[in-house]
Amino acid sequence: MLEMTNVSKIFRTDLVETHALRDFSLRAKTGEFLSIMGPSGSGKTTFLNVVGLLDTFDKGTYLLDGQDVSRLGDDEMSRIRNRKIGFVFQSFNLIPDLNVFDNVDVPLRYRGLPRGERKDRIEGALALVGLASRTRHVPSQLSGGQQQRVAIARVLAGRPALILADEPTGNLDTATAWEIMDLLERVNEQGTTIVMVTHNPECADRALRQVHMLDGRVVDVDQAPPGPPLRAPSGTQATAS
């Protein structure tokens, strides 16, 4: 699915050069659920920006879905983000002026899908995350968990090959966090590759493979033990709304 080889990203100011990524190499297979862990400043966000084509990098190569995306123009990068990648952000990044339906619609608009298809996809995605009845609400009328579910619906409606999740549970309480993780797992089980950046070990544990980063490099890779993933302790399981 994705293959990064010796990718480097350097931020320069007049005084200092910061190597946010140094010869970073990583592969993820289709259908994999990968988590990236590391302390603050380890280069997680830069990695996410590069892997999500939100930012360019200085050296190395990056193949996404078999396509070399190392040196693309801005418009081409936008196109790939739109068609192949879905983002789940820590602070949800819903557009506050738009209602739930219109928020899920945003990436589909940029893809130029016909009206009917967009409507089917949006309603389908919202049903999957259990928010079919909230289409006319605006983000400020929803709880954090609901907002993140809208964000996931926005991803699902786009049917991306790769989902990038950036601390998806960082702004949520524990019970809601587990719900969101369950949702991501279900999506992963459908065959969508997920790369999740987090510094929460419990969340990271739910991925099949954990990559540890420090100073812009991969320092360790854990293969999760085979068997069922960990479950939340009983009693904190939230009821689905």
Binding site: T45, L48, N49, G52, L54, D55, D74, D75, S78, R79, R81, N82, R83, F87, F89, Q90, S91, N93, I95, P96, D97, L98, N99, D102, D105, V106, P107, R109, Y110, R111, V138, R154, G158, D166, E167, G170
Partner: protein, 402 residues
């Protein structure tokens, strides 16, 4: 492309967007009405006398010597003055007539065809001589010009030969055939015989009689009222004639003062206020459009700053730069257009108030179209800068956490 979501998003920022809409609406209302006033005034300013204004001079002789109380002396003086004026180098023609073009008035009277019961019709009415039409630079189109022997000295004569302007001839005789007809005024015992019709005449006057003119063959001058001459100079000779004129006239007869004024100056004075009004209105329009443009730039810039994060998000979700540009321009276009639609109503409303105290300032669709075009262009130009800035917001903003 995305009207629905844009409109729904606007609904949630009514105040901010409402400001642009109301500002654009008021601006359109004001601009359309100012342009209306400007066009009305310009129409007035663009009226031409039909005379050779740029080469005309008014010469006014005001006597103080008692000898001018004698009418015969005045007659003799007029003849001398005309001989002097016509003989001056650079003078093309001169005439003894009280008409002072562009003064904003003159003298008038009502006349009808002699012997009929027709309603008397008002015309400007001046004495003139064989040189009057030549001096003004207008031409006879029917009949003949006044001849030297047409010029009467006795103001109580029973018959005068006159030439009239085409506009007045058409007013009196819509069927044509003015030449040869006789006119009469209040006194039935005095006739004005039309010997010729001349082509052009316009001198601003109350009662809308600007285009109606009549020159009656008489000398005009008196001790109390002075004597007035019109002089046409040759091309390029104005300075030279102006310099010599007053001195030569006084040298000829120093029992009087002589005042010389170019018709261009008289016309300038007459039109000065109108020109100031036009200039003021133009400045108001310019400043207003500028202020509105600043307002649109300010509000758009503010709305870009405030939405930095969502622009980043849109970019992350696949919006290209051009999509972002289009989003803001479209949003702005919708706002400007809403403002314009509101402004059209406002323009009519303001116009209804204005016509109650300004004559003729009627709204017409071309003014509105001009106003609409100006505002669309202003809105587009003003939004372009902030919208370009929005396209430079990087998509990586989306992964930055607050």
């Amino acid at each position: 492309m995305e009207f629905g979501p844009i409109l729904r998003a606007m609904g949630r920022n009514k105040m901010r967007f409402g400001l642009i809409v109301v500002e654009v609406a008021l601006t359109l209302a004001i601009v359309a009405n100012c342009v209306g006033l400007i066009l009305d005034t310009r129409r007035e300013l663009s009226k031409e006398s039909g005379f050779d204004d740029d080469h005309l001079l008014s010469v006014r002789s005001t006597p103080f010597d008692k000898k001018f109380r004698d009418e015969q002396y005045i007659e003799q003086s007029i003849a001398q003055d005309l001989a002097l004026l016509r003989g001056l180098p650079g003078v093309a023609a001169a005439s003894n007539t009280p008409l002072l073009p562009w003064q904003g008035g003159g003298s008038s009277g009502t006349l009808k065809e002699a012997g009929t019961q027709n309603e008397p019709l008002r015309t400007q009415f001046y004495g003139g001589d064989d040189g009057t039409l030549d001096t003004l630079g207008v031409a006879i189109i029917e009949g003949r010009n006044l001849a030297p022997e047409d010029v009467q000295i006795d103001p109580n004569a029973s018959s005068f030969n006159v030439v009239i302007s085409k506009a007045y001839a058409d007013l009196l005789f819509p069927e044509g055939g003015a030449v040869g007809k006789a006119l009469q005024g209040a006194r039935a015992d005095r006739a004005f015989r039309i010997v010729g019709v001349f082509d052009k005449f316009y001198n601003p006057y109350a009662w809308n009689i600007g285009p109606y003119g009549l020159f009656s063959g008489t000398t005009s001058g008196s001790y109390a009222g002075g004597t007035h001459y019109l002089v046409r100079v040759e091309r390029g000779a104005m300075t030279e004639v102006l310099k010599a004129l007053e001195e030569r006239m006084i040298a000829l007869d120093d029992g009087r003062n002589v005042r010389v004024q170019t018709i261009a100056e008289v016309k300038g004075n007459f039109q000065r206020s109108m020109k100031t009004v036009v200039l003021s209105l133009n400045i108001v329009i310019g400043l207003l459009v500028f202020v509105t443009a600043v307002g649109i730039v300010g509000l758009t810039a503010f709305s870009v700053t405030e939405r930095t994060r969502q622009i980043g998000t849109r970019r992350a979700l696949g919006a290209r730069r051009v999509d972002v540009l289009r989003y803001f321009l479209l949003e702005n276009w919708i706002l400007t257009s809403l403002g314009i639609s509101l402004g059209l109503i406002g323009a009519y409303a303001l116009n209804m108030v204005l016509v109650t105290f300004v004559d003729g300032a009627r709204m017409d669709w071309r003014l509105l179209a001009a106003g609409v075009a100006i505002l669309w262009a202003t809105g587009f130009g003003a939004a372009l800068g902030p919208a370009m800035r929005a396209t430079r917001i990087p998509p990586a903003i989306a992964t930055r956490n607050v």
